[in-house]
């Protein structure tokens, strides 16, 4: 079976996103093929989460976003601050998706936790464990594409490393296409086939080794300093 097809499963053309009359993303175009890992790199406030949300049609946008027909998409949000308002076990959380017990147990093992976690209260999990549960929650319906929004803080270094190797494992075993938001350069080099450097405009895009030149990175993060200075007033 030839798994990698050269036809793109996602085409984005001239994407423009405005929130409250402020342009967050302007003129972004790219394509994504099955099985690829795409990272979106950029400083805080660059529009990374906004990009993911527009890909999911959660917010209005201009331009074109064309997914291959019949594609299932899983989404892992940056955080779910309200989940602790309700006393809920890990199993309860999966049951919100009407998943069967067997499926839940299987997926829990796949992401490297054991069955005992099903009875744990969500609020008592460590940030790394919770991140894994979110990944499992997205995976349980066997999606074709996974959209992962990296938490900006709260996951310890060792936890973070294993999360990415977990994502890489899932990518290989499930032939899953992954779009991954990160602000961590090493993640881009280690795990991705393609990178988009975003700071409202696209600063660069292509294979990480080719496009992440020191010149481009300076351009990408230089703006961040200006933005912060601007916001301080």
């Amino acid at each position: 079976m030839s798994e990698k097809s050269d036809l793109p499963i996602l085409i984005v053309k001239n994407l423009k996103v405005k929130l409250e009359n402020k342009e967050i993303i302007s003129n972004l175009s790219f394509e994504l093929k099955k099985g690829e890992i795409l990272t979106i790199l950029g400083p805080n406030g660059a529009g990374k989460t906004t990009l993911l949300k527009s890909l999911l049609s959660l917010i209005p946008f201009e331009g074109e976003i064309i997914w291959q027909k019949g594609l299932k998409i899983g989404y892992i949000p940056q955080r779910l601050p309200f989940i602790k308002d309700v006393p809920m076990s890990v199993e309860d959380f999966f049951k919100l998706k009407n998943s069967s017990k067997e499926k839940i147990e299987k997926i829990i093992e796949e992401i490297g936790l054991n069955k005992d976690f099903l009875n744990k209260k969500i609020g008592n999990l460590s940030s790394g464990q919770f991140q894994r549960i979110l990944i499992a929650w997205a995976l349980i319906d066997d999606p074709d594409v996974l959209l992962f929004d990296e938490p900006t803080s709260g996951i310890d270094i060792s936890g973070e490393e294993t999360i990415y190797s977990l994502l890489e494992k899932i990518n290989k075993e499930r032939k899953l296409t992954i779009i991954l938001i990160t602000h961590d350069l090493s993640v881009v080099f280690k795990f991705s086939d393609y990178v988009i450097c975003l700071n409202k405009n696209v600063i660069c895009q292509g294979e990480p080794k080719e496009v992440l030149t020191s010149q481009n990175l300076e351009k990408l993060y230089d703006k961040e300093i200006k933005i912060y200075q601007h916001h301080k007033h």
Partner: protein, 256 residues
Amino acid sequence: MDFQFLYILITGILIGGVAGYLGTLTISKRMALSIDPLGHLALPGVALGLLYGLDISLCAFLFIILGMILIWYFEIKTKLPTETLTAIVFTLGVAITFLFFPLDHDELEQAFIGDISKVNFSDVLFTLFLSLLLFFIVKKIYQKIILINISEDLAKIEKINIKKYNFLYLLSIAIIVALGTKIVGGLLSAALVAIPAATSRNLSKNLSQFSFLSVLFGILSALIGIFLFKITGIQAGPLIILSSVFFFFISLFKLN
């Protein structure tokens, strides 16, 4: 055992239990305080019912729905937060009650804190029907509302019709607050929804415990309140709420 007391018990248990169940959704929506205004909105309805001998829950329900429509209309017209608009509308409820519905002292007391001794057989049937209806609605929307409350984004991706489920939830709240006016009055009926769920949240590890304990505390508070009323002759409304708060205090010492 006299039938009147049996009617009171059945009505109290039904309303207390269903209010507790629904309350777990309210807590997950972080909306416990916003039900209070609905009780105030119910006041002119209760007053109208008392003056003209109509069913007070039915009249209360109509006024709550009117108030909700008004808040919804204001929301479209201004950018003020819902909380501010709710404050405007619910004080309007109290003002209207005093201006247009001249009640004597006893009637006012009944409007504010309820008078469960007035419950009759048709009230029992009416309450039974609505409680069962509410129970099934809440059961049906439960999982979806929880997911919406955790994250509207995830709910949208799961293709959940958020507006439809929120509407069913609000309708349920309007019905339970209106029903509650019969046993604890307009000022206290929001507490039937909020307190048992808060108690249960302190004690629960998972969702089924959360709703089960909340129903249980709702029923127990109603039972204790009604028996104390039978013994002391003090109005049942405040006694039910006090029992409910008593359980809440105890739950503080066994926080989960």
